[in-house]
């Protein structure tokens, strides 16, 4: 792939050299009053490398071909484009500007002047997204937008992330925004939920298919008023993505941009674990123990059962081995079992240095009749966990052409092929045997299988906990996707009169993909299949969405003061999905982990169709460029709701008031722009209703749950009525939102400040309410519950220095999102989101969403202090809410400093507040690998701090004695609250240094050194809090042997010609 790209690049460069005939152009840059603008930038459009700076009198000189378009820009002024043509001397007059005169893409791809909007949006430019060569969109957005919370699940290739804008609206349903790429809504969610998220692997969300390198701009429509035109899909906000296009590129010579980068990944944080004590329990060495409560490593030769210094069955057989001890696993794997004790760093040994090769090439060109763009991208990633990785290939072709005076047609098509190799986490996870591995055991050095039989895994633990090296080598966790999305459209444009303009556009788009998933527990996997013969699950999800969109836009400048814009339209979205699963158990023989090789098989099929039919209108009025009113309405008819309850109407209204247009305020140099925004909107979210149906039952068999009960029995199929019963009066979830805000620019746009407060009231959530058993059903899908959110968002940007050679800007995005559950259904105290019976993540009445529930410490009623028993161990109290996952606030800060050809950018991300259940952290104590347990044993003393005894007096009990200390830590671990950790952090999210080594008219070369997640400060004791279980609404709240987060650093080059 990379070779092909290079070849292409070389070929294109030749063609460039042939075509381009450049000349020198000189000129002067002035403001609208004729005063020279010092240090303005002049560059050739589409070639950032070509830029030159004007001198202090605004004079410039640049090499450009007659076909090139010059872009003249200066801070505080609106950029201007000039086609070179025959000119050799060009004088340019720039108008003073604010960023609010820029045009932004709003709902349904409609362009609006940012100044006119009555609601908050925020854009992120393509180069800001990829400044640190992020391969995933979610990661690339972190810290760059206010009001948006991004919760990654881990640093594994293709790992899922939960993105929410202004909190959650649904308990168990979808809270993630709608993604719209070049006007076409596409699937961005995971097709399959990770469910309780305590077994198996993560499942990628489909936003993984988007290559950030091909993005020109992202517009985040945060509030419901901004997205109201999407009707039933609008409640979670919208991420509007515009990809690179040839529109506005210079004619003639195609502009080629080639980016290549390599990054190296490492664990973002190595847990600081004990290094003193060996595997075992109660001070005695046990080579199969899960715990490290054995003797000191140096004392292993003195072990009564395994020591080389003592008399035991091994020394009786092999003779004394002073200073050594016997390791049964070494004997099993064919090594000399006698070894001198050593301390191994199993965690560091296990993780590899991951690599990411990222290549992309884009070719943009404008022609007399239109433009085209071609982009190819590849991401080849090898994860830090052995045998994980991702290969993703993206191809795009887009074009636009004028058919006649009134007609224009365009199309855009994207093809993506991705292949992700994963690792299992939580209960099935490899981390369970990596992090707590005893330091005395040489996990890497001792082979992972018995001598002569690679299908007989050997590790330091028995049971289902397989050696992680063996598991990653033999088991398979894979997802492969082929996807196409794109659209084609025809636009009719006509000037009805000098002040009236009509546009009619019809667009049809498709998003079709198939993902094949494969989970294979190899032959030899403990507890899998009969006789550990393994099992295989193959599942395939196919989704085909067709989208038809017709819009008519009528623009009428009634007078110089008054303008009107009316948009009407219709949208039809049709989705067909199909989900097939096949399960096979017990491979007949080793070495061929294939469905055909299994003994028993079971297959299922699920398919569904959804259609939404919407009619909408938007009326916008403007008065003296000062007052802007926009009113929308949309009616949706939704197939997935009961037939008597399918039509819904959603209105919104937004008002923008640019008060600096008022007489007397319009010439202030202090406040050069000021706008107040007010909006209100109502939007919905549909659920899935089905009339009654029958399903195949799936019951486990008693104690034993190794393989599911399979039907038929005796030749007869068994069916049961669905035990989830649907409310025939089901209605959509309803969100009403109110938003006020202000946009203020000071000192000729030196300082830009935006602030928004929003309130969302959400009612009629759709969820499955448990039914009393006597109804014959388990759950009833109905409406119930209320949730509300107060969100404060603020952004500030300061363009501190704006000189030709030096630029410095600094900005910050602040979000405070308070999301409270007010009500659930009658009789329902909480809704389960994931985890175990205890601890679990749930929605609880009166609490922030979501909370962690589990066994708490018993606390003294008066002081609230933890009560310890006579042994000094905390006493377990009743199950209660023991942690709240939501942060107090998020703050992203960024800065950009350019000095001549060097540009330094940095993004910091601060999450303050919030807690998570960290099962791993708790189990470090239980397993005796934590620093705390080491310290207690070394000191032979540990005391639970700040606690009281049962009589209410302060805790003065010091636990001593090896076995007592072990029991103390293990007893504490049975209380879930002991595993709650604070998940605040500050991260150096991105830092990059770009050197523009060559910048000529026709050729630019930049080199970029970057790092991601390089520095981390957190009060979580061992782990990076940005790794958690679940691709659902529980994300960020629950960790238990979760795959870790990564940090990266690397280098990239950028070629433009």
């Amino acid at each position: 792939m990379r070779k092909t790209l290079m070849l292409l690049a070389v070929l294109l460069q030749w063609s460039v050299l042939v075509i381009a005939q450049t000349k020198t152009i000189t000129g002067q840059v002035m403001d609208d009053k004729g005063n020279p603008i010092p240090f303005a930038t002049v560059k050739i459009k589409g070639n950032d490398a070509s830029g030159v700076a004007a001198d202090e009198n605004g004079n410039f000189s640049i090499q450009a071909s007659p076909l090139a378009v010059l872009v003249v820009s200066a801070a505080g002024f609106t950029a201007q484009e000039i086609t070179v043509g025959d000119q050799t001397n060009i004088n340019v007059a720039l108008n003073s500007s604010s960023n609010l005169q820029e045009v932004v893409v709003t709902a349904l791809g409609i362009s609006r002047e940012k100044k006119s909007l009555g609601y908050a949006t925020q854009s992120v430019k393509g180069d800001a997204l990829v400044q640190a060569a992020n391969t995933g969109l979610a990661g690339a957005l972190q810290g760059k937008v206010s009001g948006v919370q991004i919760t990654p699940s881990s640093g594994m290739p293709g790992a899922s992330s939960l993105i929410t804008i202004r909190g959650a609206r649904s308990f168990t349903g979808n809270n993630t925004p709608l993604y719209v790429v070049d006007g076409m809504p596409i699937s961005s969610n995971a097709d399959l939920s990770t469910g309780n998220s305590v077994t198996g692997t993560d499942i990628a969300n489909r936003a993984v298919d988007i290559d950030p390198n091909d993005i020109a701009n992202i517009e985040v429509l945060k509030g419901q008023a901004a997205s109201a035109l999407y009707g039933i899909r609008a409640s979670n906000g919208v991420i509007v993505i515009t990809t690179k296009s040839g529109k506005g590129a210079s004619k003639g010579k195609p502009q080629v941009s080639f980016n290549s980068s390599v990054s190296f990944d490492d664990l973002s944080r190595y847990p600081d674990l004990q290094t003193t004590y060996a595997q075992g329990a109660n001070g005695a060495f046990n080579p199969n123990a899960s715990t490290s409560y054995g003797p000191k490593v140096v004392d292993l030769p003195k072990s009564t059962l395994y020591g080389g210094d003592t008399t035991n069955q091994y020394t009786n057989a092999d003779g004394m081995h002073p200073g050594q001890y016997y390791v049964p696993q070494r004997a099993l794997t064919g090594l000399n079992p006698w070894v001198t004790p050593a301390v191994y760093n199993n965690v560091r040994d296990f993780f590899d240095i991951g690599t990411i090769f990222n290549n992309s090439i884009s070719i943009l060109n404008a022609t007399d009749r239109g433009s085209y763009a071609v982009a190819l991208g590849s991401t080849n990633q090898k994860g830090i966990v052995p045998h994980t990785g991702m290969n993703r290939y993206n191809a795009k072709i887009a074009g636009e052409t004028k058919l006649s005076e009134h007609f224009k047609a365009s199309f855009s098509g994207n093809f993506i092929n991705s292949d992700i190799d994963k690792a299992p986490s939580a209960n099935d996870g490899i981390i369970a045997t990596v992090y707590p591995a005893p330091v005395s055991y040489d996990l890497k050095g001792i082979p992972n299988h018995a001598e002569g039989n690679i299908y007989s895994p050997v590790g330091y633990r028995g049971g289902a906990f397989v050696n992680p090296y063996w598991g990653q080598e033999h088991n398979t966790w894979n997802e492969k996707t082929n996807r196409f999305f794109g659209n084609t459209n025809v636009t009719y444009t006509a000037d009805l009169s000098s002040n009236m303009k009509l546009d009619v556009k019809y667009q049809i788009g498709a998003d079709a993909y198939t993902t094949n998933y494969q989970d294979i527990w190899s032959f030899g996997s403990p507890t899998r299949g009969s006789n550990n013969n393994g099992d295989i699950t193959e599942y395939t999800y196919t989704n085909t969405t067709l989208n038809s969109l017709l819009t008519g836009n009528f623009k009428w400048d009634v007078s110089s003061d008054f303008g009107l814009n009316l948009l009407v339209g219709n949208e039809i979205v049709n989705t067909n999905t199909k989900y097939l699963t096949a399960y096979g158990s017990s491979f007949a023989f080793a070495g061929w982990n294939h469905m055909d090789n299994t003994g028993t098989k079971d297959a299922t099929e699920t398919s569904s169709k959804y259609r939404t039919f919407g009619n909408f209108a938007n009326l916008s009025l403007s008065f003296r460029q000062m007052l802007f009113l926009s009113v929308t309405g949309r009616q949706d008819i939704v197939s997935s709701m009961p037939s008597n309850n399918r039509k819904f109407f959603y209105p919104s209204a937004a008002l923008g008031f640019v008060f600096t247009e008022l007489n007397g305020l319009d010439n202030s140099s202090f406040l050069n722009f000021g706008k107040l925004r007010f909006s209100v909107a109502q939007v919905g979210q549909a659920g899935t209703y089905r009339s009654n149906f029958y399903t195949l039952p799936a019951y486990g068999g008693g104690f034993y749950s190794g393989s599911p009960i399979l039907y038929p029995i005796n030749g007869i199929k068994a069916y049961i009525p669905s035990d989830l019963v649907y409310d025939p009066n089901l209605k959509p979830q309803n969100t009403t939102s109110y938003e006020i805000g202000a946009d203020l620019n000071f000192f000729n746009n030196l300082v830009e400040v935006n602030y928004t407060f929003s309130r969302q009231n959400v009612k009629d959530q759709i969820f499955d309410v448990p039914s009393p058993g006597s109804t014959g059903a388990t759950e009833f899908r109905t409406n119930g519950g209320k949730i509300h959110t107060n969100a404060h968002e603020a952004t500030i940007n300061i363009n501190a220095i704006r000189k030709a050679d030096v630029e410095w800007s600094i900005g910050a995005n602040f979000s405070k999102i308070d999301n409270y559950v007010d009500e659930l259904a009658p009789g329902v105290e909480s809704i389960f989101l994931g985890g175990f019976t205890t601890p679990q993540v749930r929605a609880g009445i009166g609490d922030k969403f979501p909370v962690i529930y589990g066994t708490s410490y018993a606390r003294d009623e008066k002081t609230g202090k933890v009560i310890v028993d006579a042994n000094g161990t905390p006493i377990a109290g009743a199950p209660a809410v023991i942690g709240r996952a939501a942060p107090d606030f998020l703050l992203g800060a960024n800065t950009r400093i350019r000095f001549k050809m060097l540009t330094l950018t940095a993004v910091m991300d601060w999450k303050q507040g919030g807690e998570m259940y960290s099962g791993t952290t708790g189990l470090f104590d239980n397993y005796g690998v934590s620093k705390a347990s080491e310290e207690a044993r070394l000191k032979n003393a540990v005391q639970f701090p700040d606690a009281v005894k049962e009589d209410g007096t302060p805790n003065d009990i010091v636990v001593s004695g090896y076995n007592n200390i072990q029991k103390y830590f293990q007893d504490i671990n049975t209380i879930d609250e002991s595993s709650i950790v604070k998940s605040s952090f500050i991260k150096m999210r991105e830092i990059s240094l770009r050197v523009q080594a060559i910048k000529k008219a026709n050729f630019g070369l930049g080199v970029n050194f970057f790092a991601r997640n390089l520095l981390l400060w957190t009060n979580s004791p061992y782990l990076d809090p940005e790794s958690s279980q679940g691709n659902t609404n529980m994300a960020g709240a629950f960790e238990r042997f979760t795959l870790p987060q990564t940090k990266s650093f690397g280098v990239g080059i950028n070629l433009q010609f």
């Binding site: 006649s404 009134h406 007609f407 025809v490 019809y506 038809s548 017709l550 219709n570 039809i572 049709n574 199909k578 099929e605 699920t606 398919s607 569904s608 169709k609 959804y610 259609r611 039919f613 997935s640 709701m641 037939s643 899935t688 089905r690 009339s691 009654n692 149906f693 029958y694 039952p697 019951y699 068999g701 008693g702 104690f703 034993y704 393989s707 009960i709 399979l710 029995i713 005796n714 030749g715 007869i716 199929k717 068994a718 069916y719 049961i720 009525p721 035990d723 019963v725 309410v769 448990p770 039914s771 009393p772 058993g773 006597s774 109804t775 014959g776 059903a777 388990t778 009789g827 105290e829």
Partner: protein, 477 residues
Amino acid sequence: MKKLIISIAILQGLLITSCTKDISSYNDETKRAANVPAGTLFSNATRNLSDNLVSASVNTNPFRFIVKHWSMATYQDEAQFDFSTRNIPQTWWGAMYRDVLTDYKESAKIITDDATLLEGEKANKLAIVDIMQVYVFANLVTTFGDIPYSQALDPGNVYPVYDDAKTVYSDLLSRLAADISALNTDNKGFSSSEDFLYAGSVSKWKKFANTLRFKLGMILADSDAATAKANVEAADAGAFTSSDDDGLMPYLSATPNTNPLYADIILGGRGDYLAAEDLMDPLIDLNDPRKSLYFGTNNDGEYVGGVVGAGNTYSTTSKPSAQVSAADAPGIFLTYSELEFYRAEAIERGFTVAGTAAEHYTNGIKASILDWGGSAGDATTYLAQPEVAYATATGTWKEKIAFQKWIALYNRPMDGWLELRRLDYPELTLPVGAKSGFPVRYQYPNNEQQLNPANYTSAASKIGGDEVETKLFWDAN
């Protein structure tokens, strides 16, 4: 150009009309079954019922410990009458209502709605489904007391009221009487593959229904002798005549459609279940041929029972026999052997039933031994002992019958518990560490308390408190 606009407009118009026209069928299930044969629901319900009755999972069915047939090696919660830790009443309740009764009800609905079915076949099938529903409701009403009945099994009504146990019971008896008269052996019932119990034989179902009626009548003997007598006498002639009539669920020898005990004991590979000394000692003392059929030996080849409620050593205690945990051991609904004990008791109570109490007592024991694989000779030898023979065994008629029935109802945990409560003999001592007195009912499930609170509260107070020691209406003595 205008043509183009017009054609786009028309295309869009067509799309709009066609899209709204067929939208109503869009969320109909096309790939999941919206219509299934009634027999599939009937068979699934029957299998589930059997699985639950047979199971030894401590989450579902702890009665082998309650009747002191089995003891536990390590975990004593259930043996000590702790049913709440694992929420067992809720599991049972859910299994009966959701996994069994709902399926039977749906099956009946499909049969009723099937216009193509012959009337006679329809009547037979409906009667058979109803008999099984009566079987399950009778279990619930004798296990819990007042239960949701008239308003149960309606997902639209999430607050079903609890009906009076006695009223439910008499309705069950009249349903059963009606089912018996509705069964017509000239017409077909379910197909042989759908009908696990009798492979399509309507005449066998008629016997099953009469036997069930006999049993339900006998349960009322202490509280309402007249009703008991009427039902018993009406059922006697049509009830089982030999062990060939037994209502059995045939499990298969291959996983996964095996007897649940095979999964619990053999596949589960757990050393949890052991013999109880309370049953083992009389088996040894009376040279019972069923000793080696019910149990295996300990690791030293000896027959030793464990102490119920106390920790027992797996290696030194007898385990359930290989035939108990055989993959294809049948699940048992109703047997000739238990009927014969009922007949003996009915005669002693003065009901008009053919034969003598001694004959039926003898038949009951003999059938039990033969069912377990003992020989006729074994049975004769056993019965010849004066401690066993009806004429010479010690105790009242009730004690004699109850004692032998308790032995015969081995591996019938639910029925063993029912008979212990009904006959109050043998007088078993409380297990070590008992959490309550002997349980004579289950407490209502937690989720009913939470999700149907008003009806739960009134039912609990009406029956005299939601406790395991609250006696139910038929448990008069």
